[in-house]
């Protein structure tokens, strides 16, 4: 019996050793690059650079070592979903934590809206 609605199944893909080695070398290079860049003054861009490299390294591991390049839909949805949810948590938490010192909403719009509603009701 197969998956009732069109299968995700793919015959297991055998990745050539050469690909693994290339990916490995790229990962090592990435590590060296991350460390090297940390010793150069890029101001705020240091963090951006380090995280960009980290994301690239993660993609390499996920796509090749974890075979996501050769698998279909569902696996990718799971991964993207998980990161999306992490994004929700970080963004909405920061929407509070990092805006507490902001100026209070300008007077205009709320007073205007309120006036409108007084007229309506």
């Amino acid at each position: 019996m197969t998956e009732p609605h069109g299968s995700d199944y793919h015959a297991p893909h055998i990745v050539p050793v050469g690909t693994y080695v290339l990916v490995f070398l790229a990962l090592m290079l990435g590590t060296a690059l991350t460390t090297w860049i940390a010793y150069i003054d890029l101001k705020a861009w240091n963090t951006v650079a380090a995280l960009t490299i980290a994301v690239c390294k993660m993609l390499l591991v996920v796509l090749f070592f974890m075979h996501v390049k050769y698998s279909k839909g569902l696996t990718r949805i799971v991964i993207i979903g998980a990161f999306f949810w992490l994004g929700i948590m970080i963004t909405l938490t920061c929407s509070d934590e990092l805006t507490r010192h902001w100026e209070i909403v300008p007077q205009g719009w709320s007073a205007g809206a309120l006036h409108l509603f007084r007229l309506l009701f």
Binding site: F24, A38, K57, I79
Partner: protein
């Protein structure tokens, strides 16, 4: 409905086909990794908030860490990911069980090396220098509350990661035993593949922990 007169090794009764079982195992592991992303994610969220609120202290704290060991450990883990991938490939292509075991043992050795470096050259030193909040904390003049907060996150995050490494080593031990007992073949190697996913995931966590903990604010002169 196909009736299975011969059950392939490792085939469970609730499934109809080997393929269905393999896909279920795969999907199950990926969903587990999704929960792991959110599990570490809670910690990362707290980290992001406090890093933004206490950036100068986090930079000071980060500079207490030794980049050379962090970088070395990153390399060690990447090597172990490669050996893990090769162990699975050997099983896929029907390689001998001896070869599979060698790759697995190499992976374990690298994992153990990671933990060794972490314990001996980093955590032990932190303990001696009084950098472990709640356990051994000698707050000197430069150690503002934010530095302590940073060190908390350093130990929570690397500790949780190390815990996952220890679990990974346990899983690898089981895999070695299973391989030695001829449980795997070119047709059936799902446990190897699924454990591999876990091992690579632990590697990815470290790929992020390294810059986020060791390299805050850069290490250039005057940073």
């Amino acid at each position: 409905m196909a009736v299975h007169s011969t059950h392939p090794p490792g085939f469970a009764h609730q499934f109809e086909t080997v393929e269905q079982q393999r896909e279920a195992g795969h999907l199950g592991m990926w969903i587990f990794l999704a929960t792991e992303i959110l599990f570490f994610g809670g910690m990362f969220t707290a980290y992001v908030v406090y890093r933004a609120l206490h950036l100068p202290s986090f930079i000071l704290g980060s500079h207490e860490l030794l980049v050379k060991f962090g970088a070395t450990n990153t390399a060690v883990l990447i090597c172990s990911s490669l050996t893990m991938a090769l162990a699975i490939r050997t099983a896929q292509t029907g390689g001998s069980k001896g070869t599979i075991i060698v790759w697995l043992l190499l992976t374990m050795a690298l994992g153990a090396a990671f933990l060794g470096i972490k314990l001996r050259y980093e955590w032990y030193r932190d303990y001696v220098e009084g950098l472990i909040p709640g356990v051994s904390w000698l707050s000197g003049g430069t150690h503002t509350p934010g530095v302590k907060m940073f060190m908390c996150f350093y130990f929570f995050m690397t500790g949780l990661h190390a815990l996952h490494m220890v679990v990974g080593l346990g899983i690898l031990t089981v895999l070695v035993v299973m391989t030695a007992r001829n449980r795997f073949s070119a047709e059936y190697y799902a446990p190897l593949e699924i454990s591999g996913l876990y091992w690579h995931f632990v590697d990815i966590v470290w790929i992020f922990l390294f810059p986020l903990l060791y390299l805050i604010g850069g290490r250039y002169p005057g940073s």
